[in-house]
Chain length 390, copies 2
């Protein structure tokens, strides 16, 4: 069976982007193509998978073909993959499988979202429909409320409190302050993050990620082609994905994401390692509580110890055994929905090649993980990467 | 490399369906599961790909996970594939690659659309965005207009006329009149079809497919599993896909679909046969002119002879070497956008197993082709099937 490597990766800065959708995509794709070391032309791409949810309010359709024809990839088989905020995590998985299948040697996975063209009502709508509609959204429960319920229950079950979440926010803002691609590039003090205005009790402004514009693009290649394109491929050593009930009330527990547990267990097993072998992880911290749960579900902390993990800043850059969200995460780097999954891969690609801006590089990074969640855990894709093939 | 077979397939009746989205999907999935000969449980499904565009106006999100949790497939990796009207054709391709990749043994591909819950304005919107928006839709050119331009140009280039299109309509209505799953189950006389009210000159009502509700579901299995599930698998012997410019003015010719030509050429080559070896083809006749072009692009007729092929009824059931749209096609069976691609496979599955209602069975059908188009040719997926492995 063929092995798959990331040979190029690029993204726009996240935030309020001045360009439209085609321009943003062209920028991310162009950066990805030029990051490939060899004599790479987009005409050598066999197939593409592009994740997006709202696509700027869906005023443009047939989005995948629209984007490839405007980035030098016209004619190739391409499709849009939509799985709420896990769209490009699944685009990555599908691109990886396309190469594994032997049907394609060079495949693009990417994602894009233009949130700041939407009115506040449409933003709420496009975010809201990614959760459960019938039992949650129509009763007024949007994502901050959903994650607030998870946080309250977590506090109750594990004797944690809001301060634990504040530590996640402070850490991710610290990391993001050093990331020139981040939406929010500033540090936040513990006091300020603790005292932010209330969004959904107990979550304050500093517990919630921003809604960002952004595009990200990753070039994957089969092993025999990867060697020709770069001396420093980043190998996809494991891929796992799963789904779960959309609505919280259908799950036996709301302080763990079963989809994350299943997806990561598969990815670890394929890569032949466990959580302790991961040097850096980009996890889906749409809310700070989501990072606390993810550190447990992914195995970086024991069940119930995610709060302690946060409080002791074990995930902070080069502090513990696994740096969590060196990019700033969704909280500080930003969250352009469909672009987030492959945007995580852009970070991992640079980290594992030692190409990150000084100050933010994870020391001697050999292995990495990306964790991309849709809804409040209804879909999840986890990938494990390495400088070496496993 | 593993071979892939269709081992089960089912669909709802197309038309104005009384059930909601979850009910429609459950019906199609349940029929697909029960069509598997062996002791089949949906819990043995490893992964799923579900195509949909509007999903009833997108009031529900995270659609793929929502559907699998309501059809006995909870927990599996699932994603929505959206590629305009080729959504489930690409879902099929991605499901096929998932098995080829060795990552999954049993995979579901399906599609769904609930058009009749939409207001006329929203129907126009969701159909319209699948074409080019910036140059065509915003100038008032919706799909009937787009295909009317293609028809007028075709008449001009090849000395054809509207009568040729009428023959397509009459043939597909004849086939659909015998299909209990069809949206429109009635024959239409040549005179009536020729004199239908004008929609977009030269296309009349009888040149245009209806907008239907519908869901379709196909179960694919790796060869070593397929043998345990059925004695009569239908093999996927070839898959090809391609894209093209969205807007007509960007294409060198508007009387051929380059995406169809490329996709079918790849699928034929993989299956080791040519058009003359295909016993039945389900082609994407969203408008009658589209079937005329498809018969040429797929190689059933020479370039410029598609009108003659139609006029001489070579595609009529058991008349020529290839029966075209034995199901009634989009014109008469109906067109529930995202469900159409895998709906074509449901027909092919039954035909190749000799399980079609009496009167509509293609005699001694050994090989088949499905052709699913998005937009006015921006995306296309073609698959070749056989009773035997190629």
């Amino acid at each position: 069976m063929v092995d798959v490597a990331v040979v190029g990766a690029g993204q726009t800065k996240y935030g309020n982007h001045p360009l439209g959708l085609k321009g943003m995509w062209a920028e991310a794709a162009s950066k990805a193509f030029s990051s490939v070391d060899g004599d790479f032309e987009p005409t050598s791409i066999d197939e593409a998978f592009i994740g997006t949810i709202a696509f700027g309010g869906a005023q443009l359709g047939n989005t995948a073909a629209l984007l490839t024809e405007h980035s030098g990839m016209d004619g190739i088989p391409v499709r849009r993959v939509e799985n709420a905020c896990a769209s490009s995590g699944f685009a990555l998985r599908d691109a990886w499988m396309a190469i594994k299948s032997g049907q394609a040697d060079v495949v693009v996975a990417g994602g894009i979202e233009k949130m700041n063209d939407l009115t506040p009502e449409r933003k709420r709508y496009w975010l809201g429909v990614s959760g459960d509609t019938e039992w949650e959204r129509l009763a007024g429960l949007t994502f901050p409320g959903t994650y607030a319920l998870m946080a309250r229950r977590y506090f109750h079950e594990f004797n944690a409190d809001h301060d634990d979440l504040v530590h996640v926010s402070v850490k991710n803002h610290l990391h993001g302050s050093m990331n020139p691609a981040a939406h929010i590039q500033k540090e936040v003090s513990f006091e300020k993050a603790a005292g932010g205005f209330m969004v959904a009790d107990p979550l304050t402004l500093y517990d919630c990620c921003p809604t960002s514009d952004g595009a990200s693009c990753v070039v994957l290649a089969a092993d025999h082609v990867a060697r020709k394109l770069t001396d420093t491929p980043v190998w996809v050593n494991g891929s796992g994905a799963a789904s779960d009930h959309l609505a919280l009330h259908d799950r036996p527990s709301i302080t763990q994401l079963k989809a994350t547990q299943i997806a990561s267990s598969r990815a670890y097993s394929m890569a032949g390692l466990t959580a302790s072998g991961i040097d850096l992880a980009e996890v889906h911290d749409c809310f700070t509580i989501a990072e606390v749960l993810a550190t447990e579900d992914l195995g970086f902390a024991k069940r119930g110890d995610g709060g302690v993990f946060a409080r002791e800043r074990e995930g902070q850059l080069n502090q513990g055994s696994t740096t969590v969200n060196a990019s700033g995460g969704l909280k500080s780097k930003g969250h352009p929905l469909g672009a987030t999954g492959t945007g995580q891969v852009v970070e991992v690609f640079k980290q594992l090649r030692g190409e990150v801006e000084s100050g933010r590089q994870v020391r001697d990074a050999q292995t990495a993980l990306t964790h991309n969640v849709g809804g409040s855990g209804a879909t999840c894709a986890v990938h494990v990467f390495g400088r070496d093939r496993s």
